[in-house]
């Protein structure tokens, strides 16, 4: 299992959590979010990539989006597959994110 831990201090911008190697895919088996800002924080976690077909589409596949109140911690059990560049965007800082990933 691969663990990622990050404290995000940049607001309203994509912060990279993980760049999935081209020949690998991962399943998120643990996701913990800790809103340590002084107010509400909206947290969005997305898998981003560009398709290789004719459409050459830039994909932003949102895996999780939730607003946490001040001091709120959240554990998410739902399993998601990560294929490209996993990013997080928060509306207030700091927010701590811990991820556990297993290779598919």
């Amino acid at each position: 299992m691969k663990d990622v831990f990050i404290e995000i201090t940049d607001v309203d911008t994509d912060v990279e959590l993980l760049e999935c190697p081209p020949i690998k895919m991962f399943r998120i088996v643990k996701l913990q979010i800790d809103n340590r800002s002084g107010g509400d924080a909206t947290v969005e976690i997305a898998d981003t990539f560009t398709t290789n077909d004719d459409s050459a589409k830039s994909v932003r596949d949102v895996k999780f989006r939730e607003t946490l109140s001040t001091g709120e911690k959240m554990n998410i059990d739902e399993e998601k597959i990560v294929r490209g560049r996993l990013v997080a965007k928060v509306s207030a800082q700091p927010v701590r994110i811990a991820l556990g990933l297993e290779e598919v």
Partner: protein
């Protein structure tokens, strides 16, 4: 051309026979002994939007030999929620049923029934089988084979293809050895010493 098999990879001292006059002249209807072999993994990864497809031409991704003295035995497995269609010649699907019209549409998204004719899924050719189960043989100057890969999903897909390239040295036989192989033909096939590689047109019964 593609077929599913549990056969082991070719190894040193095996024999191969290229059956069919449509193979390139340097191998057509000839028997060769396998010399050295080398197993080279080759991974290919693609992102495909849902309902779209990509074409992979096997000769353009390094899966054809450059030397006339080489055979590539290719074994493919893959992961991802996709359908894989071999195309040979490149303008046609290779796996079609006999009744007219029972072929996948050129763009698989346009017919949700016939889309599922002649395609392989990751269940048929799993990524981690050893060796992978979807087999293909290529030699220098052989016609292009295309794998059309369709994202059969409600979301955009990633496919990772794992190919083991069994790079085999082809050694021409002297008369005595060729005679010996022909005399023991059925026995060698039964023992897995001799492998027949039929031309795709023979597999489709286009020629006899």
């Amino acid at each position: 051309m593609p077929f599913l098999t549990n056969d082991p990879l070719l190894k040193e001292d095996n024999y191969v026979f290229f059956r069919g006059g449509d193979f390139p002249d340097h191998v057509a209807n000839k028997i060769f002994k396998i010399g050295f072999t080398q197993q080279i993994p080759r991974y290919i990864s693609k992102f495909i939007a849902n309902g779209k497809y990509v074409d992979i031409e096997l000769d353009k991704v390094g899966l054809y030999p450059e030397s006339v003295s080489t055979l590539f035995e290719l074994r493919f497995g893959f992961k991802g929620n996709v359908l894989l269609y071999p195309r040979y010649p490149t303008t046609q699907y290779f796996n079609v049923l006999e009744k007219s019209g029972f072929t996948p549409p050129d763009d698989p998204s346009t017919d949700p029934d016939k889309r599922y004719i002649g395609c392989y899924t990751s269940v048929d050719a799993p990524f981690d089988a050893n060796p992978p189960l979807l087999a293909e043989y290529t030699v220098k100057n052989f016609d292009t084979i295309v794998y059309r890969i369709y994202a059969d999903s409600i979301e955009d897909e990633k496919v990772v293809i794992r190919c083991i390239v069994n790079r085999c040295q082809l050694i021409e036989l002297d008369e005595d050895e060729e005679k010996e192989v022909k005399e023991n033909w059925d026995d060698y096939i039964a023992k897995g010493i001799l492998r027949i590689i039929p031309h795709p047109k023979l597999i489709r019964w286009e020629v006899r």
